[in-house]
């Protein structure tokens, strides 16, 4: 499993989206998110985007007030994951039009749906923005 989880967290450390590809109990999740957020949010712009945590890596990137954190296996390609994050943001941007934290909050299920289009079972299955968005937009009409 390449990707273990995807988190979106705002500057205050509140989780805005959490998608796990392995089952964790609520307590485990709460602990994990707490640790990760503490670790990553303390870092500044001059520092690299990779953090080792427990036995996996976290690749993160900040867009405005939102942090996108992706937990991956150790041999996953960090730069590719950064590209993936960027693709995710661009896709949401295209859909919401200049996406912001509020968009994701209010359309959480849509954001989940987009993620599901892109990632399945921890593997990235779709990297074309058009392909990702077609079903999302189709469903919006129904």
């Amino acid at each position: 499993m390449g990707i273990r989880f995807i988190l979106m967290v705002n500057k205050q450390g509140q989780t805005r989206l959490a998608q796990y590809y392995e089952w964790l109990t609520l307590e485990e999740r709460r602990a994990l998110e707490g640790e990760i957020v503490r670790k990553c949010l303390a870092r500044n712009e001059q520092q690299c985007s990779f953090v080792e945590h427990r036995n996996y890596k976290i690749v993160y990137r900040r867009y405005a007030s939102l942090f996108f954190l992706v937990g991956v296996d150790n041999d996953e390609n960090e730069l590719a994951i950064l590209e993936f994050i960027h693709l995710l943001v661009e896709t949401m941007d295209r859909h919401f039009g200049n996406v912001c934290e509020l968009d994701i909050m209010l359309h959480l299920e849509k954001a989940h749906f987009m993620l599901e289009e892109m990632v399945m079972n921890g593997c990235i299955v779709e990297t074309s923005k058009a392909n990702i968005l077609t079903p999302v937009q189709l469903l919006e009409k129904t």
Partner: protein, 925 residues
């Protein structure tokens, strides 16, 4: 109950209302949420599916972002799932993927829903159910739905097919038998030219190949084609990952692949792909000089890049190369050293690892110096990171790389003075360990210890207390090397020692005792009489392991005389000092401190009378009058001058177990006896010293309270203990810098011993307690020190074995069913690898599986190792099945298109022949 009415559903709050409401709550968020949850609980019982699904959606939100349990809604989610409306279905699937897991009770009920949707004509419904299956599939679901997934694998709708491919990974993992059905179609998808499909298939194979690369060697031609043709970076990266796993297994394959990879490296503009090429080359193609050079060139570009990400990755790549091509690291030394002061802690740690990789016995001094300077300047966290890695690198393999121990000991002293230093415990261990192991360094060790002790400022730093305790112990134990014992005494008794914790205070007092005895001994005994040789003579006679009693101390005497002559007046002052400093401690709350202070004061009382007497009239007949005192001093001194040696972790294992023992029941008693001892942290070695000290103090106590005949008896008890358990006491008489006689703590062979005798250890600890309880309470202590390790070991050892039995049984069932060449030869390496597995068990399994797969070429031994993990085991089954599948396929479909057939034939071969033989025909055409 009729459920909520129409009114309720009309005025139901939507998710949006909920979110907006939440945003307005600045303080009462919890109250708001619990109110909302109450509403949801009511609404979700509604018979109206819209109300129900909205409630479910809100619940998902609260569960996902606010960690509220939603398991109560499992059945409701299933109800919503049966709705004909797509939007309801979507919510239901979302809820199910979020909340269901293997132990959800209603999981069984979902099978038919999923099956219905998997066969739906609406591709989005199919997609939703596939998505859901990929999240929640357990064995039953995977088994029951395999036919549907199989059908979808060749669906003509790409959108569905790529999802079916992705879900296969989970299905294989949960239900290995599905491999028989689906594997062929999965492989067919490899030849698909649609990038969507290809990306999914390659992703699946890269995961599969991680677990067991050998099974996928036959597919190498397909992967090769993808590697050469691929336009998508993402796919290329995944294929490179596959080759990184496959190449080490088959040299001809790597010959073939290395060139395209280098081409890719030269041509690509994408940093991610470039880095993947570099990583692939340095991990799996490190014997190809030109490829490595090319990769190293790229690494250098990364290293000097402004982007911290690239820099980090460059360092990371370097650390991969370091194991095989150390020259690469040396070539980039400047960058690495410079990165030590990078603003990013992750980069710093990465470069620290690299610096430590460069350390050898030639440069350890310079590198340590540089690092210690860095440590002085950096923040506490990184400072300790540095110190920790210096300590662990230098002590590796019993100080393998240290040649100049004088230097190292003074480095330890220097390190403990660094303001942020928190490595006190490790430094303590090493100071004592070195003292015990390396005789030649003791002079310097005592000097370092003195410098530490004498500085009153250090006593205020609680992180240093452990170091100080080691320094105190060292200066007491090796006082004969001291230039000025009087000064040492003052340092040990200085008023600020009250800042120390009681356990360390006790060590201080005990060391002061030793120093005092030494001073008295030099002053009286050495100065005059030759009487009372009997004690020391008997002492030496029984102990042939002992080394230098005489030699060492005479040398030392010479030194003390030249540097700081101990005069009678100074002795008087010394005794006064002791009384002054220790009398308050008689009221100490800590029994240990109190007892030791009392011992020492008792001794002083005893000596003072006689000594002062004899001093008063030393001119005429000191020989007669002082003889009593001299005798006592000599006895005590002899007791202290016994050399202590390091004790091997496995020493107890060597002692044969006597018959007819009653075991376990004594262990409870042991607990109560040893609970008050501060054990030295015994991670690597256990030292006899705290317990030995106790021995010594208690029998010197005897000496004081009773006559000297009795003391002789207790000395001989110690001797007896030594004689009987001579094996515990390692020969310490070697004059080499490092004595090689005792085994390193982590010697695998010895641990193997421990495995066998794990239960014996328990017996033994109980046994050695029994006979000694009567004569002297403190006697069994040396064994007690061991106990700590002994009860750790059996747990670590026994448990996995029993685990393994049940696991390997299950695995073997499956392996035997399909594969008749189960390797049995590698059974022997089971225990050790299992223990490893056990130790790491709390860590997540993935890391280790990687280690195993990469590190080990021999697939059979790999298979064995993996038994320690449940997760691994499942993959293993699956792989076995895959092989079986290839077998089967070959038989059943020999008239398929010929190329496939050929590769299937190859698939079989690596199974039937030993892995090393290269009967495999050239993979790439």
């Amino acid at each position: 109950m009729s459920g909520p009415s129409l009114m309720d559903s009309l005025f139901q709050r939507t998710l949006e209302d909920l979110i907006k409401g939440l945003r307005q709550q600045l303080i009462g968020e919890q109250a708001f949420i619990s109110k909302a949850l109450e509403e949801i609980r009511k609404e979700i019982k509604s018979t109206d599916l819209s109300t129900k699904s909205t409630a479910l959606l809100k619940l998902c939100y609260l569960s996902n972002l606010h960690f509220h349990d939603m398991s109560f809604a499992a059945f409701h989610a299933l109800e919503v799932l049966s709705s004909p409306r797509f939007s309801h279905k979507k919510i239901a699937y979302h809820a199910i993927s979020l909340s269901f897991h293997d132990s959800t009770p209603v999981l069984l009920l979902i099978t038919n829903h999923l099956r219905k949707d998997l066969t739906s004509t609406n591709e989005f419904e199919v997609s939703l159910s596939l998505q859901c299956l990929s999240r929640i599939a357990n064995v039953d679901l995977a088994r029951d739905l395999t036919p549907e997934v199989f059908t979808l694998l060749s669906s003509n709708k790409l959108y569905v097919r790529k999802r079916a491919v992705a879900v296969v990974l989970r299905v294989f993992e949960k239900y290995p038998d599905s491999v028989r059905v689906c594997f062929k179609r999965l492989v067919e998808n490899l030849e698909n030219y649609d990038p969507q499909i290809l990306s999914a298939v390659v992703g699946v194979f890269s995961e599969l190949a991680c677990k067991d690369p050998r099974s996928y060697l036959p597919l190498a031609p397909e992967f090769y084609k993808i590697l050469v043709d691929s336009k998508s970076n993402w796919i290329s990266i995944k294929v490179l990952k596959i080759f990184a796993k496959l190449a080490p297994l088959e040299p001809r394959l790597s010959n073939r692949v290395v060139e395209p990879i280098c081409d890719l490296m030269r041509k690509t503009g994408a940093k991610s792909l470039l880095f993947e090429c570099v990583r692939t080359v340095v991990t799996s193609f490190s014997e190809y000089e030109s490829a490595v050079r090319l990769a190293v060139g790229k690494i250098r570009e990364f290293l000097v890049d402004e982007d911290p990400n690239l820099k980090y990755l460059g360092l990371h790549a370097l650390s991969i190369v370091a194991s095989k091509h150390l020259w690469v690291v040396s070539e980039n030394k400047e960058v690495v050293i410079k990165s030590l002061s990078d603003p990013d802690p992750n980069i710093k740690i990465e470069s620290l690892r690299l610096v430590m990789a460069m350390v050898s016995e030639h440069n350890v001094a310079e590198i340590s110096k540089v690092l210690v300077n860095y440590a002085l300047k950096s923040d506490p966290l990184f400072c300790n990171e540095i110190l920790g890695s210096i300590l662990s690198t230098c002590s590796r393999n019993v100080y393998e790389i240290i040649v100049d121990f004088d230097w190292y000991v003074s480095l330890l002293g220097e390190m403990s003075r660094i303001p942020h230093c928190q490595m006190g415990e490790e430094i303590e261990n090493q100071l004592i360990d070195i003292g015990l192991r390396v005789k030649d360094v003791r002079l310097e060790l005592v000097r370092v210890a003195r410098d530490l002790l004498i500085d009153p400022a250090l006593l205020g730093n609680s992180f240093l207390h452990r170091v100080l305790s080691a320094a105190a112990w060292v200066s007491g134990e090796y006082v004969e090397f001291s230039r000025n014992p009087l000064e040492l005494m003052e340092a040990l008794l200085q008023p600020r020692t009250s800042l120390l914790p009681p356990s360390i205070m006790a060590i201080y007092i005990q060391s002061a005792f030793k120093v005092l005895v030494f001073c008295l001994h030099t002053c009286f005994v050495r100065g005059g009489s030759t009487a009372g040789v009997s004690a020391s003579a008997s002492y030496e006679s029984f102990d042939d392991l002992s080394i230098e009693n005489g030699a060492g101390s005479t040398v030392a005497h010479g030194q003390t005389c030249t540097s700081a002559p101990i005069t009678n007046e100074s002795i008087v002052n010394l005794l006064k000092l002791v009384e002054l400093a220790l009398s308050p401690l008689l009221g100490s709350h800590d029994v240990e401190v109190q007892e030791r202070a009392r011992n020492l004061l008792g001794f002083v009382d005893l000596i003072k009378l006689e000594a002062l007497n004899s001093l008063g009239q030393e001119e005429n007949d000191s020989e007669q009058k002082g003889v009593e005192a001299t005798k006592i001093i000599r006895l005590v001194h002899d007791a202290f001058s016994k050399e202590l040696g390091p004790v091997s972790l496995s020493a107890q294992g060597k002692v044969p177990v006597p018959d007819g023992l009653t075991l376990n029941e004594n262990l409870g008693d042991l607990e109560t006896i040893c609970s008050d001892i501060e054990l030295p942290s015994s991670n690597t070695f256990s030292f006899g010293y705290p317990s030995e000290e106790k021995d010594v103090s208690s029998f010197s106590n005897l000496q004081i309270k009773e006559d000297s005949g009795q003391s002789n008896e207790s000395t001989s008890l110690l001797a007896e203990h030594r004689k009987r358990h001579g094996l515990y006491y390692l020969p310490s008489g070697k004059n080499e810098v490092i004595s090689n006689d005792y085994p390193p703590a982590n010697d695998p062979a010895l641990q193997g011993d421990n495995n066998d005798t794990a239960s014996d250890l328990v017996k033994l600890t109980a046994e050695s307690l029994v006979p000694k309880r009567k004569p002297n309470h403190s006697k069994p202590r040396p064994v007690v020190v061991k106990l700590d390790e002994a009860d750790e070991k059996p747990v670590a050892v026994k448990h996995p074995e029993s685990r393994d039995d049940s696991l390997s049984g299950a695995v073997r069932d499956i392996l035997f069913g399909s594969e008749d060449i189960l390797p049995t030869s590698s059974r022997s390496n089971l225990p050790s690898s299992n223990r490893k597995g056990k130790e790491k068990q709390h860590m997540i399994t993935q890391v280790e599986s990687k280690e195993n797969v990469v590190g080990d070429g021999n697939s059979s031994s790999r298979r064995r190792k993996d038994h320690s993990h449940g997760k691994e085991r499942r993959h293993r089954k699956k792989n076995a099945e895959e092989r079986n599948e290839t077998d089967r396929k070959e038989k059943e479909s020999s008239s398929n298109h010929p190329r496939r057939h050929k590769s299937r034939q190859r698939a079989e071969e690596p199974l039937k022949v030993p892995p090393q033989t290269s009967v495999i025909p050239d993979f790439l055409l």
